[in-house]
């Protein structure tokens, strides 16, 4: 029986994959053709979703984007025999999936299985190198697991880029009867969806990574703090956790090792600030998400006051391949101090959006034009925001910056969680600066004044600037206010809102009604 794949990833569903799948099943039945429908994750080529694949001995053959109305013609072209001349002649025929240049040129390490397997099939996971990392980890001491993570050079993919191994080491060395592993799955940044894709499309890799983390530092309980906007991820994670428990990959005496790790998903409730790790911990404890003062670090006093690893989804999901293939294998990718790969998410006004996992070092321009295919509107790309709502806006003159934490730092920008949002020439950057303040005002936890009051003042000042009132004074006020927020905020919500604001002002002064000379003053 021929296997036909139709993705179950949210983005594919958002473009009608469910109907496509139903139409394929119905059409096959009507024609008396036996097929086996498999719901896989997304390969991450969103302009081709719903991307349908047919499995042949030669490999998987792709067709897309397939809408229900295309299904009859696909059967007419005998697409089940996917490399036949008639199938190749179909306008939606794309060829062997693995040969698509967009995929072939990527270095998929963290996303190695995404789009290939049935997300909740443990058999599939095992057949594609799943749980090899855990197997190796179970033969190592906690300190040696931590050493492997440190040696790999992996840095926090949530955005702050702190070395994961060093964080784990702090937790390992903190004496306590109870420790925790918390996965930060609050993915609030606009332009990012890699966490969601891992959770929906390869949930076992996250479960495996968390289990390894627990075993490394001696934590027996894990929580995934999942944003409430991801109902599909919730279902998939819970199902995968259930199956991992049954198969002895979670719970007590994991694979006969005598080690214990319990895992539970907790739903967030729509507060962006709860992605900040201490706010997240407050929320997990059942409280309002007020940011805590650091120190103490969560690694020392985290959840319920106990030593806690807090890591982003991608950081944790990268651990299995490091333990499987070795620290050096991972560290061999990348540039400078940014080792390994970054799952980059192309978003906004681009022709070809989707998930591109590459070793650090590719330039923004390659991503925007080679992968992104330029703007969706056909108009020139004017500005690009990298790293979410707290990231800087970059003008064309900075598009040759390589994706590397330090290189971005040099131009007063951030890589963050790897989201790239493109805007075409119709974007009004003063409006975007105003929005940055507005967002900060809506999401501020209210604990410190620069953020709570500053963001609201920021909106007011921007309104005056846009209205053209007392220009020089108000621009000066905008800079002073940004300075106060940068230096006086307790967390990065208030502390980084000036990034989008000042970068917009400095790179696009004309949108603020200023000449370049005035802006520089």
């Amino acid at each position: 029986m021929v296997k036909v794949y139709v993705p179950i990833d949210s983005t594919a569903l958002s473009l009608g994959a469910e109907r496509t799948a139903k139409a394929i099943v119905a059409e096959a039945q009507a024609r008396g053709i036996d097929i086996q429908l498999i719901r896989n994750g997304s390969r991450g080529l969103f302009w081709l979703e719903p991307l349908v694949e047919v499995e042949l001995a030669e490999g998987r053959v792709a067709f897309g984007p397939v809408q229900p109305k295309d299904v009859a013609s696909l059967f007419d072209a005998n697409f089940i025999n996917a490399l036949s001349d008639s199938a190749k002649g179909h306008p939606l025929y794309l060829g062997l999936t693995e040969e698509l240049a967009w995929l072939k040129t990527q270095q998929r390490l963290t996303f190695t299985r995404v789009g290939i397997t049935d997300p909740v099939s443990l058999e599939d996971y095992l057949a594609h190198d799943g749980y090899k990392g855990l197997k190796n980890a179970l033969a190592l001491s906690g300190a040696d697991i931590v050493k492997a993570v440190t040696d790999s050079g992996l840095r926090g993919r949530g955005g702050a880029a702190f070395p994961t191994g060093i964080k784990w080491n702090t937790v390992l060395n903190a004496p306590a009867e109870q420790k925790y592993v918390v996965c930060n799955a609050d993915e609030g940044d606009s332009g990012t969806y890699s966490d969601r894709m891992i959770m929906e499309d390869d949930p076992f890799v996250l479960i495996e990574g968390m289990t390894i983390a627990g075993i490394a530092v001696g934590a027996t309980q894990g929580y995934i703090y999942l944003r409430s906007e991801y109902p599909h991820a919730l279902k998939t994670l819970n199902e995968a956790i259930r199956r991992a428990n049954i198969a002895g990959y979670l719970g007590e005496n994991i694979q006969g090792s005598g080690k214990t790790f319990h895992l539970e998903v907790r739903r967030a409730a729509g507060a962006y600030v709860c992605g900040e790790e201490t706010s997240l911990l407050e929320s997990l404890e059942g409280k309002r998400g007020l940011v805590r003062f650091k120190p103490p670090l969560p690694a020392i006093e985290g959840l319920f006051g106990k030593p806690t690893i807090v890591n982003n989804v991608i950081s944790l999901a990268t651990v299995p391949i490091i333990l499987d293939k070795g620290a050096q294998y991972y560290a061999d990718y990348g540039m400078g101090r940014s080792r390994g790969t970054l799952p980059i998410q192309l978003a906004g006004n681009l022709k070809q959006t989707g998930l591109v996992e590459l070793a650090f070092g590719a330039t923004l321009r390659e991503l925007l034009y080679d992968y992104g295919g330029g703007s969706a509107s056909g108009k020139p790309i004017r500005a690009v925001q990298v790293g979410g709502p707290l990231g800087a806006y970059l003008p064309e003159s900075q598009f040759d910056t390589p994706l590397d934490y330090e290189e971005f730092g040099k131009i007063w920008a951030v890589l963050g969680h790897g989201g790239i949002v493109a805007f075409d020439e119709t974007a009004d950057m003063a409006k975007m600066a105003r929005y940055a303040f507005e967002f900060c005002a809506i999401e501020s936890c209210g604990k410190c004044t620069p953020c709570r009051i500053g963001s609201t003042r920021g909106v007011e000042v921007m309104d005056k600037i846009v209205a053209g009132k007392n220009h020089p004074q108000n621009v000066q006020l905008l800079r002073d206010l940004s300075d106060t927020m940068l230096n006086g905020s307790l967390c990065a919500l208030g502390g980084m809102t000036p990034y989008p604001v000042l970068s917009a002002l400095n790179h696009f002064p004309e949108d603020f009604g200023l000449s370049n000379k005035e802006a520089a003053a």
Binding site: E187, S228, A269, G270, G286, P389, M432, F439
Partner: protein
């Protein structure tokens, strides 16, 4: 205005409270369970929650009001969330939002006159590869415009 709870709702709520009483950090999952079933978190049950979880009523109120997701009043039968974040803005979400507000005759946080649709803003649905995005109940939709959303509403909410 206070909304009276049906016998069935009271039983559900009581069961949820019992189930979460001894869960570490159980307040958030409890509030989710209640809102999933009842559609909102009724203020009249704060005293019951506070007693069972050993919190003050003020603490319960503080938590419910901190999170955008929780609401204390019933809303429309269906919830339409429009993404207002950057990626969707880059693809025209502002136009979508203006048109939908006028088509539905409501602003954010309001419910259409027939009680069918409540409109809410949301800041990223993780569907930024297909902006602008909206969420209708638990389903996300990408590359939207107001015609497509209106068709969706007709199909899901009036179908």
């Amino acid at each position: 205005m206070d909304h009276l709870l049906s016998q069935e709702q009271q039983t559900l709520i009581k069961a949820h409270i019992q189930a979460h009483q001894h869960v570490p950090g159980g307040l958030m999952p409890l509030l989710h369970a209640i809102q999933d079933d009842i559609g909102y978190v009724p203020e009249i049950i704060y005293p019951d929650i506070s007693k069972a979880l050993a919190l003050s009523v003020a603490e319960v109120h503080g938590v419910v009001s901190f999170y955008h997701h929780f609401r204390t009043h019933p809303i429309g039968k269906h919830v339409l969330q429009i993404c207002r974040a950057e990626s969707c803005q880059a693809m025209g979400s502002e136009k979508l939002e203006t048109e939908l507000k006028s088509r539905l005759g409501v602003d954010y946080h309001q419910t259409t006159q027939d009680g069918k649709v409540t409109l809410l803003p949301v800041y990223c649905l993780g569907n930024c590869g297909c902006s602008p995005a909206v969420m209708l109940n638990d389903e996300v939709y990408g590359r939207m415009n107001s015609e497509k959303v209106s068709e969706l509403i007709a199909e899901v909410c009036h179908g």
